[in-house]
Symmetry: C3
Amino acid sequence: MAVKVTAKSFEVKTRYEGEMIDITREVMEAVASSGLSDGMATVFVVGSTAAITTIEFEPGLLKDFPAMMERVAPKSGVEYEHERRWHDGNGHSHVKASLVGPSLSIPFCERELALGEWQQVVLAEFDVRSRTRRVVVQVIGEEVPRQ
Amino acid sequence: MAVKVTAKSFEVKTRYEGEMIDITREVMEAVASSGLSDGMATVFVVGSTAAITTIEFEPGLLKDFPAMMERVAPKSGVEYEHERRWHDGNGHSHVKASLVGPSLSIPFCERELALGEWQQVVLAEFDVRSRTRRVVVQVIGEEVPRQ
Amino acid sequence: MAVKVTAKSFEVKTRYEGEMIDITREVMEAVASSGLSDGMATVFVVGSTAAITTIEFEPGLLKDFPAMMERVAPKSGVEYEHERRWHDGNGHSHVKASLVGPSLSIPFCERELALGEWQQVVLAEFDVRSRTRRVVVQVIGEEVPRQ
């Protein structure tokens, strides 16, 4: 069968700095609505102060991951050049987002994403205020007939 | 020629926390067995305590990379909320894996991956015990005839 | 319309450790010259001491991001095993590059990359000297006719 490309995008309303939002269902829906059985889903967040990764989505790690990022790029105690120029208080948010990265590619086979049972796709909000985030899920693949 | 999608998966037996395993050959084989000459290979590790990246695979860096990760998310001296809930001793493993990320996409051209001579594809084991890891290599590309 | 695969590569001359180079225009050109309207561009840097990510390309962050990486993997004050074996003074460069990663996938729709207004694609040079970097942009997508 022929390979096809489809895309879906959706918005996520974040509420606070360090929030992690489970977007696995939205990614699954993008794959399902593509009608494709085998291929790859690329998840991309628009903007430079949020990131995409996978994590076991349980309350402990939702605190541990932002805490680690805070050790790497502390909000206070470090001088950010970004701050000196723009005074928007989010220099640390930018560098965190660049480190984790805005995109993630996940293969799928027989309509199932290759995620582990305790591995969810998450959007990490690193900005200092509530934001409306646009996430694009680009699906490339084909419909493989099976007996 | 038409674009095609193929996938191969394989298992990797890891032995200890901080182990880095060279999986370049397996990725090359997935590309070779696809029969495609030009495209992209996406390498994805299933699970939330391992990660995929590239590194110069030499004994020094196999110690330096885990040592850096240990500074970022120390096994001891930091309290992990994950630990308080689950008592499986791997909160630091989870946050390391989320930071590095489970996936990597590598272009290939004329059947050759775009890797540098001293750039290997590695699986990093961050969990505290031996694990059997499943890695999926999704190949999307085409067969370009050349003179 | 049929899905197609195209690739472009280009060289970037870097000048110093910690330099960040905006390669958004080159990625846009690779998409434009593909003739495709919808799909995905994967940006990959060849070599093990440079990385690809996105950032708001403004002078403050071009200092803040390398400064954060320097906290994570300091050039001095940490002993690198790589150094003890190879004496090329770039153990910290390698581990930084592996942490950020060599590849980034960006969806595009109606010939527009899904980047935010203040989100540029950058190559981060982590090596200790000027280098000539090869970057590959692999574009997979299709030409979708629109009214």
